[in-house]
Symmetry: C2
Subunit: 422 residues, 2 copies
């Protein structure tokens, strides 16, 4: 057992929301209540930004049903930020806030930028002699954190995307006469993890199920190949369902998107995303083809009503594991998810150095992409399949999901105001 460290907890959320980031928050709060050396449980509003501004709330004052409700409420209940600590004064200020509020445990739920921030704060606190334990909790729909097998948030977003594919495939099947192309643009600016996840919509042993073509940022886009791909599918199938990652690039590594300077055949700049761009290509090069482009955008990462139970459970588990690791004396670590080597999926938690997480990006392995460049092989399905298992039952009121809003009882500031970004 580690030496007991008595004091307060501070937990905050950062970066883009997911459907299950609040499940991690619930895990932190519920586990923190189990330990007598933890006196107060504070939340920082809007991530590191609110901590700089000393906008803390008392999470122990929230009703139990609100904390339970966090398990199925999407997005970041504490608010989030994209603010990056820029200058030495920012870091100093964070440690001052910790000292003023006797924060001995800091849990930061976020992606690699956030883990980088946590790492720096942790090291600064140690260098000033402030004893505390800093543990990161992974979060991102992008699934690009290294060391961890996968990241909470990813399973739910691909469950949503694959569900949408199954649903619009029924729609297209009814409408199509070898003349219909549906294009679904999905999130993923720098990697194709989310677009790849759409392949789960295929039933086992039905390789011709939708999605027929998946365009990944990892594979340089080629217009002629795309048009050939679509024509080939339409020969065999009643419709062609295309999934495209928003971060698709050409062979120069430039984004392919109508909003990024691409021009249509009339030399006009075009608004809209890459899905609209692909629609434009089809409309230009084929006649008699109906094309519909869909861009659900941020609704993908907020789709709590289609969240994966496996993902949700793991997000909650990661929150609890962070507190347990801190109780065991660890600091400057992030919780990681691991899976055993057996064929039966079993997720456990481990720890990795924050610095190791901060500096890496996990790419979709090239060996999981088929030679055609537009489909994923069984290795990807084996990897991603377990992450979407089970459904989260969201309580409804008047026919709509009943999400919680925290009461956010403010903790009295103890320091002079601090000018952020000055």
């Amino acid at each position: 057992m580690a030496e007991e460290l008595t004091g307060n907890v501070l937990v905050a959320q950062s970066g883009g929301p997911t459907a299950v980031i609040n499940a991690s928050l619930a895990g932190v709060i519920e586990e923190a209540l189990n330990h007598d050396c933890i006196e107060e449980i504070y939340g920082g509003l809007n991530g590191i930004l609110g901590i700089l501004q000393e906008r803390l709330i008392d999470l122990a004052e929230e009703p139990q049903q609100a904390i339970r409700g966090l398990r199925y409420t999407p997005s970041s209940a504490l608010g989030t930020c994209r603010y990056k600590l820029r200058k030495e004064a920012d870091f100093q200020r964070v440690v001052e806030v910790f000292k003023a509020h006797n924060i001995r445990y800091f849990f930061y739920i976020g992606g690699n930028d956030s883990q980088d921030t946590a790492d720096k704060i942790s090291k600064l606190a140690a260098s000033t002699g402030w004893e505390m334990r800093v543990i990161g909790i992974p979060k991102t729909v992008d699934n690009d954190l290294v060391v961890t097998d996968h990241t909470p948030g990813y399973g739910s977003v691909i469950k949503e995307v694959a569900t949408t594919v199954r649903e619009i495939a029924c729609d297209a099947e009814a409408m199509g006469q070898h003349d219909l192309v549906y294009i679904l643009e999905v999130m993923g600016r720098s990697a194709g993890w989310i677009a790849a996840g759409a392949t789960l919509a295929k039933r086992r042993d039905h390789p011709n199920d939708a999605p027929h073509l998946i365009y990944l940022p990892e594979v340089a886009f080629d217009t002629n190949k795309f048009l050939d791909d679509v024509a080939e599918v339409l020969k065999k199938e009643k419709y062609c369902l295309v999934v495209v990652g928003e971060g698709l690039v050409d062979s120069n590594g430039d984004y392919i998107s109508t909003s990024d300077g691409n021009q249509d055949s009339f030399g006009h700049s075009q608004l809209g995303g890459v899905g609209d761009y692909l629609k434009g290509l089809i409309d230009q090069h084929f006649s008699g083809i109906k094309t519909r482009s869909m861009r659900p955008g941020h609704s993908q990462r907020a789709a709590a009503t289609n969240a994966s139970k496996a993902d949700n459970d793991e997000a909650y588990l990661a929150g609890k594991a962070a507190v347990q690791a801190a109780m065991d004396g660890y600091t400057d670590k992030m919780v990681v998810l691991t899976r055993g080597d057996s064929d039966q999926y079993a997720c456990e938690t481990g720890l990795a150095d924050l610095s190791e997480i901060a500096n890496g990006v996990k790419h979709l392995p090239a060996s999981w992409i088929n030679e055609d460049g537009v489909s994923l092989n069984y290795q990807f399905v084996k990897y991603a399949g377990p992450l979407v298992q089970g459904e989260v039952v969201v309580p409804h009121e008047n026919g709509l999901p009943k999400f919680v809003k925290l009461g956010k009882s403010a903790v009295q500031p103890l320091l002079p105001p601090y000018e952020v970004g000055a």
Copy 2:
């Protein structure tokens, strides 16, 4: 009791799919099995098009679990079409097919175009002395059929839209600092019924909940008012959530959409829908505002995993009621849904003349739109609220919804081929 008419049933689906059109099909099949005077239950593939081509399937051969699965499988399991009977020969051919297959009961599930077709077929059959009963079953996400209080398919699409609004509102709430605009473009080319439904996302007694602004095709769009509306919301709220119907028009009645000849400030034509157009306006006129435009498109009408149980039950009921009406001797009618005058919502079925349905369009009442032009009053909420009640539990396999595909055992054609559209 009507005189017993012995023969076969033919049922077909037409127009754009909905999340519950197959529930009506299941209702027809299950009720038809109850009546001894019905010998065979046939389905016509791709609506009237497949009937012209004599592409019929034997629905009684489908496994019971497939028919049960239709209750939660989105889109038209029989396939649909947008084909309109054009010439006298088309109508004659349909009646020939009926006679060849001893079709004495024809059930057509569709919108007002489809009911118009059913009406004409019914009258032609009668004029040639072919005794049969033709009953229409209402279907459309657009909710624009007259006489019926509402249309199966509408409750589910607005439940999906309002759920998405609640989910992305959580996302925006976490991200916004009085500088964020989310725009959700929803279906509805000619009427604002679907956009209006988004208002159900507001909790009771929380008028400031999202959606903050709803732009309806019924209210002529004014750019300056729009920019003022957005600025006003951002003064008070952390973010502004805009819902816009795809059929928004200006004061001349012209569609406002980047794909309809509108030009940006550089004189460039723009691709994309009206949501992207509104995003462009904000980006041009404000600085420091982040705008995200989402266009889920056809996924809205296919979202079986978010379907309304009330809507699903009523769609099923409408299918059964059509068969019962035919058994009672009615013909040339469409099933309509009615609600009593009591405050407690109770849906019952009735009948209306097909000709009455075919020639009307139900508009969103102007008196349900508030004076601000961007919100709906309690009369709309009272109307639409009951339509989204209850959740349909969709069975899942491997974490994804398990939809059914019919086996489609073909009925032997008995007539010479017919050239469609010749």
